[in-house]
Structures are given as C-alpha cells and as structure tokens.
Amino acid sequence: MPIRSIKGALKVLVLVAIFFAGVWSQSSGIIDEFVWYLPDVKYLMVQHIWLTVMSGSLAILVAIPLGIVLSRPKMANVAESLMQVLNVGTTIPTLAVLALSMSFLGIGTVPAVFGLFVATLLPITRNTYTGLKGVNPALMEAAAGIGMSPMQRLFKVELPNALYVIFAGMRTALTINVGTVPLAFLIGAGGLGELIFTGIDLYDPVMMLSGAIPTALLAIVVDALIALVAFLLVPRGVNPSRA
C-alpha cells in the first residue's frame, strides 16, 4: 500500500508540473515562438528524412549482402580480419567521416549521403554477419542432411533464424543515422541541423530546440517503425517478442 500511495502522489505531482509548464509556456509566449519556426521545421524535416532514407536504404542494400557473403564458409579465412577492419571503421567519429567525404566529394547532399551511408553500413554488416554465424550448427547440419542446396539453406534456414539479430542491427544503425543527420548541415546538406547549429550560434534556445526536438521524435519514430517491421517479418517461432 505505501508504495502504491507514493506512486499515486508522484503521478499527481507530474500532472501538476505539466499543467504549470503549460501555463508558463503560454504566458511567456514561447509557444508562439515555436509556432513561428513551424514552416522551417516542416521544410527541413523533409530534407532530414530524405537524407536518412537515402543513406539508410543504400546502407541496408549493401550491408546485408556484404554480411551474407562474409559469413559463407569459403570466406572464413578473410571474414574475421575484414570484420576487424570494419570494427576499427566504426570507431572513427561520424563528423570525421563527413569531413573526409567532403574533402573528396565537395559540399552538398552527395557527400552527406555518402558519409552517413558509411557510418550506417558498419553496424548492419556486423549484425548480419554475427547473426548468420550464430545460427545453431545443428540446424545447418540438419538442413544439409535432408538435401537442401546452399541457397535453400540460406533463405529457408539461415536468414529466417538470423533475422531478429539483423533487424536489431538495422534498428541501432538507423536510429543513430537519424541522430547524426544534423551534422550533415555542416557540409551543406540541410536538414534539421540547420536550426540546431544556427540556434547554438545565435544563442537562440528556441530555434535550437525547434530543431532538436523534432530530431529526437524522428529517432523514436524510426526506432518504433523498425521494431514493428521486425515484429511482423520475423517468423513467430524465432521471434522473442512474439513468444
């Protein structure tokens, strides 16, 4: 009972706090300021989403086949060392990657998409590779023993059983991607970074927040979307969230 009453009291307190925050923001005119930025937010958000979709889908298209190829038994000798190279690659800060890509490709959307693509590529490849490598060897033996061809084994046994791990990789990679896109503004690709960085430079917290808050919301939405797709696509027998 005491725990319950404490919880109840906290709930009431939070509601009261929200109410006063609302009263304060209305009276201070901050909401009007946000509303003033709304057309900018809409325009930049489309750019932002566009950058994420471009770089993210490119990364998925390259990373999953790459992970599959690396996980084949024939690649066993080179795969581990290549994965190490990719691992080292992940430690390079995204800002540095963007700077490098700008020095080769100039400014604008193309170098930004390329830089984001590189940063997103690594986690998906790594998860695809470890997911496929982690499939129970007994399943592989059974699949071979009943006469499945290597392709049938890949599509009917390996990928369905690794899918949950692969989706986890995509989820991490794309959520980070959304959070990284603001940096693309620095090399002239637009996006919500424009409001954030300009807001910082002008010491205008409202401007900065009207970039930062939609970015955060976007990351949450992307995360939830991929979780939903995983929930629907991963077969029930190997899907922990549907067990």
Binding site: N136, A138, L139, E141, A142, A143, A144, G145, I146, G147, M148, S149, Q152, K156, V157, P160, N161, P235, R236, G237, V238, A243
Partner: protein, 386 residues
Amino acid sequence: MIRLDNLTKVFDTQKGAVVAADHINMEVPEGEICILLGPSGCGKTTTLKMINRIVKPTAGKVFINGDDTTGLDTQTLRRNIGYVIQQIGLFPNMTIEENITIVPKLLGWDKAKYKARAREMMAMIALEPDAFLKRFPSELSGGQQQRIGVARALAADPPVMLMDEPFGAIDPINRAVIQDEFLKMQQELNKTIMFVSHDIDEAIKMGDRVAVFREGKLVQYSTPDDLLAAPKNAFVESFLGEDRALKRLNLVKVREIVTDEIATVVPSDTLETAMAKIDDYGYQNAILMVNERKQPVGIINRSVARTTKGYCRDHFQAVPAVVDLDDDLRKAASLMFAHDQTWLPCVNDEGTVCGQITQRAMTSHLGARYRARQGDDRKPSAAIKE
C-alpha cells in the same frame, strides 16, 4: 540395403593425418537396423556421415540398394536418405507441418499430397495432427520434438535412414518409450537403418546387427547375441561390460530352453504319490499340481508330502510364479530370484503347462558359447579369470 566398400576418412590436422575410418567394409541387409557402437572418437559417426556425405570420404564407395552412390549428385542422394541427429535440428522458424513436409517439398510433391502426408506422419508418431501441426518446435517437449525429427526424416519415405544418436538427449523414461515406438514403426516400415549409439543396452535392444568400432576400425560385426556370447577380443569384451552374460538374458526367449520333462500331480492324487514323484524327478522343494485342463493350480511342498497323509487337493499352496513361452529369460530369472525358486513352470498361450525352465538350463545355455570358445582360442590365464 547399405554396403560400405573400403570406406576411409583421413582428416588432416595440425598434428598430422588422423585416420578416422580405416577401410570399413560392411553390409546392412534390407529392412534391418544396424547399430554402430563404440567409445567417442572411434569413427562410428564419421562412418555414418560419409554415407550422406556430411563428411566427404577420402576413399571407398557406398552402395545403396546395390547402386554405387559415388556418381550421384549430393542433394539427390541426401533427399533419398532419412537423417536424424541427436540435436534434433528442427527448424525453429517453421511450424511442425513445414518441418515435416520440407523434404517432400524439395522433391516437388504437390500441395495436397504433402499436406496429407504430414497428417499421416503425425498419426504414425501418435501425435494429434490438429493440435500440433500449426505449432512451432519451441512449444514442444524434447521427446515430442525428436518424434517430429523422426517424422521429418521419414516423410518422403526414403528406403534408407541414418540416425546419429537420435535418442541420446532424451531422458531415460521417454527414451525407452520412443525406442519401443520406433521399433514398432520399423516392423511396418522395414527401412534399412544405420544407427549410431554409444549405449550398449540401446544397441542390444534396437539392433538386428551391431558393429563395434575402435580407433577407426571395425572390430566386430555380428548379431547382438553373437556379440555378447562371443566377443572377438579384449576390447570388445571390456566395452560390453562384465555383466554381458546378463545382457543376453534379454535376447533369449523361454521357448528356446524350455524342457518338456515336468512332473505334475492332480488334486485327486495322494500325498504319497506326490512324494514318490518328487523323489523320482529330483525336485528339492515342491511339485506342481495341475487341474484336468493341465493348468497350474498349486504346488505341493516336499515337507508337507513327507510328513502328512491325505490328498493333494487338501494340502496345496499357491503357485509362486509361472512364465510364458514368449517371455525373455530376464523375466524368468527375475521371477526365480524373487520367489527363491530353482525352476519355474512354463505355460503356453492357452495357459496350459507345457514344460519347465530351470536355473541350470539357463546357465548352461548362456555359458555354452563361452565354453565352446574357451576350448579353441583362449589362453589359459584368461580362461581362469572368467
């Protein structure tokens, strides 16, 4: 039929070449279960897996139903061999139905046919189709999963099956049940089966033949009874265990050693007659009393017959135990020990007495093969030890 012709596997390891299977020659006749038996690392699993090329043979040939499989495409070969592994290996992403129908689908059966086949298989392994077909492997117990594993291997009705310690991961009680079910299925299916095991009791129970392996070589290949009665060398002997004579009890039926010399009395006989018969036939404790249909109804104790006067019908005791002609010696021996008897009456299917089985007859039957062998190739010292 499976025939192995000089099948050899050499593994190249860092410590040099290791011969895992060394010129294995053997033949499993159609419809028989052959158990590959031996300690771990003896080459039994390697030999099994060379048949469906999970392990690629270094040299030698495999014949199935008389045809050389060397030229056959690996996938075609495997689709025509049922394969069951210890880890079961059901695909967790597929329903039970999808798991069972996977080989028929690979072979291009049409949908109606493989769906019907799935239900048929479920009936064979005694699991309710409607309750199980749409479920996933993770929702089943270990024993149920391995039943599905066997059903998957049998779904396309292959003539040959390979089983790699199929019941090894199942608890002892369920294992015995599944073994019995499998033997019953095999009586109808008549598959040619190679079966890897490291459990001597399982080998004796399941095998029509047993192949004992050691360090990559086939040491002995014979029926379970021959194996237990005449182990070829000290290794086989020690692998079978010191109680191997007792293990043979399972394999011999009462019918084989029953003698029809049995003395009986009827209720209207006097105790004097009973005493005379006890002495004539040399019974130590008691004589059996039967009714007019020759069914056992009681025993007359020697002490009673000697000291009392009267008729048998007034002085008998209950029959301690009888054995059926189709019982195995293990049951007979157990009944003898439990009731402290040196002989037991045997009855046929109608329940009439048709002879007796004595401890002496049992021991002499089981010992005959050992004594015969001691005569020819045994060293004296070893003979004394036994």
